[in-house]
């Protein structure tokens, strides 16, 4: 039951002389909903891309569902949904063409859910015939989320999924995420700077700093002041500090 879905071991990644990930170890367990936090440029997108095998690591291994991420089977690939930070949708296609294309790629595709989301999230017939490149940033992001949810993924990776959405769009997205977690027990990893959204859905938060996971824990416990810190001998020790808001915690941990 508690075999990690994602296992990253000693992963390093450089861009030129800049070290982004530095012997990073990380695990994601089944059913976890983890918020990934870090300052701008901390390497959250690089971490998620390495996790998914979209970027080669310099050193270290990444395994998803027990398979080396460099050689994922089609069956495992089909269990993963990903919403990238920058929309990588096919700009010349219409939303309908793009979704039909992805539908054909996946063994499992929830067409009823996709149609319901399109209707609920304002994709009326005229918009479904427009080229994706002509849609607004928010519309493209919503489409990207619909595409990722289409195959009913078991593991959902979201990189700043709501950065282009207005508050109503964000709330719609959160509700959909909550539904998905309720219905399917989906494991979710998402990075965001919108702490209020994170508080609503993430049970666990992880901070990326200096190329490693600097702090991870249950959100409630962290807010209530429980910390596990590395004592000098390298053993984990539990300490209590004053209760804090997530924003204060973010500033304290990442600075």
């Amino acid at each position: 039951m508690n075999t990690p879905i994602v296992q990253m071991s000693s992963v390093s990644k450089h861009f030129g002389s800049a070290s982004v990930l530095d012997r990073l170890d990380w695990q994601v367990l089944p059913g976890q909903v983890i918020g990934l936090l870090g300052r701008n440029g901390a390497g959250k997108s690089t971490l998620l891309e390495c996790l998914l095998g979209l970027r080669e690591t310099d050193v270290g291994t990444v395994r998803i569902y027990g398979e080396d991420v460099r050689h994922l089977s089609d069956a495992t690939r089909a269990r993963i949904g990903y919403v990238p930070q920058k929309c990588d949708l096919f700009e010349w296609m219409t939303p309908r063409q793009m979704l039909d294309y992805f539908k054909a790629l996946y063994p499992r595709w929830n067409a009823a859910k996709v149609d319901a989301l399109l209707a609920r999230w304002g994709f009326d017939p005229s918009m479904q015939d427009k080229a994706i490149g002509k849609l607004s940033g928010g519309e493209q992001q919503r489409l990207s989320i619909i595409r990722a949810l289409g195959p009913d993924p078991d593991l959902l990776i979201l990189d700043e999924p709501v950065s282009a959405l207005d508050p109503v769009g964000r709330r719609d997205f959160l509700r959909e995420l909550i539904d998905s977690v309720i219905e399917n027990g989906t494991t979710v990893v998402f990075s965001t700077h919108i702490l209020s959204d994170l508080e609503r859905v993430a049970l666990e938060i992880a901070f990326l700093k200096n190329g490693r996971i600097a702090l991870q824990g249950q959100l409630d416990e962290l807010l209530e002041g429980a910390r596990r810190v590395d004592a000098s001998g390298g053993t984990a020790e539990r300490v209590r500090v004053a209760p804090t808001s997530l924003e204060e915690l973010f500033i304290e941990v990442t600075q």
Binding site: I178, I182, S196, E199, R200, L203, D220, T244
Partner: protein, 132 residues
């Protein structure tokens, strides 16, 4: 006996009080004040999660704690209800004690703002009358 809607609850993000704890405190206050009567039904975990856009586990955690302290009882197939003897045991003093956590927070901020007690108390008195 009524079943209360999920709109009964409201939570704030950005607080140092975790969301599950906010829900726990709200139920305690509503029961203590008699707005929730013994036997009343609570909205389902799923409903609260949907309406407030919260992870259902957070709502479950709040309900579970309230069940452990005897304020709520789980009824098979019917969800959570307010325990029969829940409403009867709170006198004024006990009800006032429920305000303590939130007032301690306010006191902390008042000290940080270097406000003297009289100023804070007169403001609080004013707010109390304003709402009534």
């Amino acid at each position: 006996m009524t079943t209360h809607p999920a709109q009964l609850f409201s939570i704030t993000t950005g607080s140092s009080e975790p969301i599950y704890r906010q829900l726990v405190e709200q139920v305690r206050r509503l029961v203590a004040a008699g707005q929730m009567a013994p036997g009343d039904g609570l909205p389902s975990v799923r409903e609260v999660a949907q309406v407030l856009a919260l992870n259902p586990m957070t709502v479950s955690k709040a309900y579970g704690l309230l069940e452990m302290e005897g304020l709520l009882v789980r009824q098979r197939g019917m969800g959570m209800r307010v325990a029969e003897r829940a409403g009867t045991r709170h006198n004024t003093h006990e009800r006032a004690e429920l305000l303590r956590p939130i007032l301690e927070r306010a006191a902390l901020e008042a000290r940080q703002l270097e406000l003297d007690p009289d100023t804070v108390l007169s403001l609080f008195t004013h707010i109390l009358k304003e709402q009534a």
